[in-house]
């Protein structure tokens, strides 16, 4: 199929882009990497009157260290660039791991971090990773900006907090705590496909080797990335053992409320959330043990 007709704009500056969004955003779509939007256009499932191509906004593609030791990632940073970045590997092991599951190299060459977040597919890895990392997202509009926690950004199925006249410009990641490991586990029908279910995990140990902090976020198990809070709480203060990890898995499984669809049953997804929680925690423990203070 071929896209329906639209008015096309490729603003050269952020200000221009925001002005266009203010004027045309209500019946417009932002084109970043295009790996999600172009299929919708090609299938005529999306028929925006306006397409606002933000790929000329080079300032939005930066991958930079933050003063506090974290990262400042431009929304337009390509998934491939993030994958290859030593800074990302160093300062955010969870993101580096999550990227390996995203599509295929040819998709990651164009796909962007911001695009994946704005599209908000419930089975996508990057939104879940951002929630696990407690990322803070900067949303800008003509004449203003606001910051939203990742957890508050994903509002519903394929729906984010972005208003029609807003553009996601930057994702700030906090510094990676000491003695913290990461794990991402998912099951998909084929490697690179959207997950039937997945869990992104970080685990922070204290000086005695007990769990100081855990973040567990499920994807593909509900309309938005799901913080598995009960499972997290069950781990804090305790020893990181197969028993406690199994219990966390049981709590995760009980907490999710996935849907039946043609790809898997709800019951399977719920069980899977538990299994993958346990496995992701095991991975996170292994990599936490490898990271000194």
């Amino acid at each position: 199929m071929k896209p329906p007709p639209f008015r096309y704009a490729d603003p050269a500056t952020l200000e221009e882009a925001l002005d266009l969004l203010a004027r045309d955003g209500a019946d417009g779509k932002v084109l970043a990497g295009g790996q999600s939007l172009m299929p919708l256009l090609n299938f005529r499932l999306a028929r925006p009157a306006h397409v606002i191509d933000v790929n000329r906004l080079a300032t939005l593609a930066a991958i930079a260290p933050a003063a506090d030791g974290g990262l400042r990632l431009g929304a337009l940073a390509r998934q491939r660039a993030l994958e290859r970045s030593a800074l990302v590997r160093d300062r955010c092991p969870l993101l580096a791991q999550a990227l390996a599951f995203v599509g295929h190299p040819q998709i990651r060459a164009r796909g962007t971090l911001g695009g994946s977040l704005a599209h908000a597919d419930p089975a996508a890895e990057l939104p879940a990773a951002m929630v696990a990392l407690e990322a803070r997202l900067t949303l800008r509009r003509a004449g203003g900006e606001r910051t939203v926690a990742a957890e508050d950004f994903f509002v519903g199925l394929l729906t984010t907090a972005l208003a029609h006249d807003e553009l996601l410009t930057e994702i700030a990641l906090p510094p990676w705590p000491a003695r913290t490991g990461a794990g991402v586990r998912e099951v998909a029908k084929r490697h690179g496909d959207f997950a039937l279910g997945g869990v992104a995990a970080t685990l922070t140990l204290d000086a005695q080797g007990r769990v100081a902090r855990a973040r567990l976020v499920g994807f593909g198990v509900g309309p938005v990335p799901m913080r598995l809070a009960d499972a997290e709480r069950s781990l804090v203060g305790g020893a990181p053992t197969p028993t406690t990890f199994a219990e966390a898995g049981r709590l995760a499984s009980a907490a999710v409320d996935p849907a039946d669809d043609i790809h898997a049953s709800a019951a399977y997804r719920a069980r899977l959330a538990g299994v993958l929680t346990t496995r992701a925690l095991t991975d996170a423990l292994a990599s936490a043990s490898g990271r000194a203070a």
């Binding site: 071929k2 007709p5 490729d10 090609n42 191509d53 040819q106 690179g192």
Partner: protein, 157 residues
């Protein structure tokens, strides 16, 4: 109504110009306007990979890029790999030796992905080859001939 734009880009080393509807995809520009029909359209949703070309050296989906987005860019298609069918490059020659091609519809895109990979990784492992090929569908061959062709190429280097 769809608007139009004039664009200028480099395709296979040659400067090319065109005036296109903004909704025209890159692969349709290459095939229809520039008559470079070696790149094919298989799904128009970025999964099959038949439309894969190199843009500024990176393998990307030609069906998921608008032609206007290639303005000012350097595009390489399968036609750039060999001057003519009697002078195949080493990758192409190995694909012949290992029977990596049957109907041929998917191979243009695959050649471009492999070409980009081999520029970065001249001696890939089987796992790395299969990872690059994971972005492509072939319904004819089962991929084994393609994998063996690249392994043979790597071994010869």
């Amino acid at each position: 109504m769809s608007d139009t734009r004039a664009i200028a880009l480099t395709v296979n080393g040659q400067p090319r110009q065109a005036t296109v509807e903004t909704r025209l995809t890159l692969v349709d520009l290459l095939r229809e306007e520039l008559r470079l029909t070696g790149t094919h359209v298989g799904c128009e949703h970025g999964v099959c990979g038949a439309c894969t070309v190199l843009v500024d050296g990176e393998a990307v989906r030609g069906c998921l890029l608008l032609a206007v987005q290639a303005d000012g860019r350097r595009v390489e298609t399968v036609e750039s790999l060999a001057p003519d069918p009697t002078h195949l490059n080493p990758l192409q020659a190995e694909l012949v030796r290992h029977h990596g091609v049957q109907c041929g519809f998917c191979i243009g895109g695959i050649l471009m992905s492999l070409t980009a990979m081999l520029r970065d990784t001249p001696r890939p492992s089987e796992a790395e080859i299969r990872e690059t090929l994971a972005g492509h569908l072939c319904r004819c061959t089962g991929y084994q001939g393609m994998v063996d062709a690249v392994l043979a190429l790597a071994a010869a280097r």
